[in-house]
Amino acid sequence: MNTHFRSRTARGVAVVSALALTLTACGREGDGGGEGGASASPGITDESVTLGITTPLSGATAGPGTCTVAGVKAYFGAKNAEGGVEFGDGKTRTVDIRALDDTYDPQQAKANYDQLKNEVFAMTAGLGTPTNRAWRDAAIADEVPQVLVMTGDPLFSDTDESPWQLGFVPIYQNEGEAFGELLASSTEEHKVAILSQNDDYGEGYVEGFKSAIEGADNIEVVEELTYEATDTSVDAQLTELANSGADVFFNAMSVTPLMISALQKAQQLNWKPSWFLPSNTSSPGAILEPGGAAAYPGIYSVSFAKAPASPAFAQDEDVQAYLAALKEHGDYQDPPAFPHCQWSWMVGATLEQAFAEMTEPTRENFMEALRGIEGFQAPLMLEGTSVTTSEDGQPAVSTLNVQKFNGKGYDTVESFG
């Protein structure tokens, strides 16, 4: 590496003052991570560690985006209040979170990453496929961890392709597959109508579902349509699907208002199939109740997180601690409207597990520690699901329970019907 006459001269240049507000401190001491094992990576001292998040905090996806910050902030806020998190090297550090808004714009996400990469120890928890993909290559080149991010894109869980990445939530294929398997095991014949979001989210769900029902003679897909996430209405799709006479409706939809109006519209058309809903748009309070879901013979979804609104978990210790911390440390006053809040809380717990195994304050060591977690039952996780990071091709959470709506919350089910 060549030498530079930067940092000090830079201060003299008038230009810097114009940019000063948005600039990081001068210099590039933190370049490339420590070569010698002992030298610490950027963003970590003996007292504290800083984590970075780029996620949508304004715009159309700001609802779930805000949750991805709130959960992890609440988790470490509560830990910091107790003194900090114990690391594997025997030191106790407080965890600071630096969250920036990317408005779901990949370009802004990359800019946020550039801003944070030399200040934070690791990037985590950010929501969105394009916004995480935008700086994935750069993170690999800079050897900055991009871990436990909220996208079901399988690329982030491919260790060869993405050595510095790890997804948190199950890949979309997993969720579709889980429901497909349940349906294939049914003793009856079923006709399935499919509606999916026209992007990797919808495609992933459908791909997983179809792979699970392949070879099952009792299942027939009779109609398959798509919609755009920016649509204001899916009435026409529902009208067409209702006409197919399907008795099962696989609806891979991630937009809350459209999901509600789909539930309402099918009733108006007097079409009453069993529904499958994705994990992020199946909230009992925010979606099923206003959608009038009680009218349907069955509403199925997949989950690995306890729903805090569900009466079954009202007295649950995890849930109570979580809700209290969310209010106190997460800047989140309302009851969580998106499961991303719970997921983000689990990200915090998973990070703590990795920190506990870290023997050196380096990003390499952190990645090693993070990839060594097996069967960790994070708080808020449902019975039968766990965090396992050692499996190539799978995100941190790949186990799911299929659940059925019981009018108030969800029950885990083993069979369809």
Partner: protein, 293 residues
């Protein structure tokens, strides 16, 4: 056949959502000669206000009426203290100012009420009416009915009343309007106030279906703009009809033209718009304006 009619009916009800915003845009344009990108944002703010009032225990209809009053004041204030600075200047600058206003309002709504989806109670029951094998929700019928009433009132305002004539005179030529003794400033405020009222009604009508979020009307705005241009900037009837045409054609194209499908159906209104404008630059129902050199 049943599906076809159902698709048409669905399209009409979606079109009514676009029409609601489009009418408010037309009103502002008639009154001030501007396209207001923040029209939807102001409607969202009014809807939040009504929603907040219902949470304080007020009955829905009272809350909506209060939000209408609030909107009139908001529109007038925005015109007087913000937009007046830009009205005589470069029109592009004025449009960008309304974009800034939209961003600001969205930000305020997100700050006060979060970006989460809030349930807005509906004025109309969700029950359905069926005839000829077609089912329509009472909510859609109600929404459409209110839009039609608003359209008729607006048309009457422009064509048949002194206020409407004065508003238009101010928009077309403020100087000569002032010379002929019209209170230009106050008329501009009234124009914006009335448009905001229309927006508030629209917001309350569509919020139950779209659920209340700060960006609730962002996606509808583009369609509303298309309807405004397609129908002709000067005609309330024109834009409502155009909005319905857009809603229906989109559905039919998605279902019956396999190449278009549900992903590219959004192109349909713009292709239609383009064809119409080539033939009739003033829009379907618009009046031709003569520009002197």
């Amino acid at each position: 056949m049943g599906t076809f009619i159902q698709l048409v009916v669905d399209g009409l009800s979606t079109g009514s959502v676009y029409a609601a915003i489009a009418l408010a845009i037309v009103l502002v344009h008639q009154a001030t000669g501007l396209i207001n990108f923040a029209q939807g944002g102001m409607a969202v703010l009014a809807a939040y206000f009504a929603w907040w009032l219902t949470n304080q225990g007020l009955p829905l209809i009272v809350a909506i009426l209060l939000s209408i009053v609030f909107s009139f004041a908001l529109g007038a204030v925005v015109e007087r203290w913000l937009m007046r600075r830009f009205e005589r200047g470069d029109p592009d600058t004025a449009v960008v100012a309304t974009i800034g206003l939209l961003t600001l309002i969205t930000g305020i709504a997100g700050w006060l009420w979060t970006y989460n989806n809030q349930q807005f109670p509906s004025l109309f029951p969700l029950d359905t009416v069926s005839f000829l094998g077609v089912s329509v929700s009472i909510r859609s019928i109600g929404t459409t009915a209110v839009i039609v009433v608003a359209m008729i009132l607006l048309q009457a305002l422009f064509v048949g009343t002194k206020l409407g004539l004065a508003l238009r005179a101010v928009a077309i030529n403020p100087q000569s309007a002032a010379f002929s003794g019209l209170p230009v400033g106050r008329l501009l405020m009234v124009g914006w106030g009335l448009a905001a009222v229309l927006g508030a009604v629209a917001g309350a009508l569509v919020a139950p279906q779209l659920t209340l979020t700060p960006g609730m009307l962002d996606n509808a705005l583009v369609y509303a703009l298309a309807a405004v241009i397609l129908g002709g900037l000067t005609s309330p009837v024109g834009v409502v009809v155009a909005a319905w045409i857009i809603g229906v054609l989109e559905n039919l194209a998605a279902v019956y033209v396999p190449f278009i499908g549900y992903d590219l159906k959004v192109a349909v209104p713009f292709i239609l718009l383009f064809v119409v404008l080539i033939v009739r630059p003033q829009g379907l129902f618009g009046r031709k304006t003569v520009v002197r050199v």
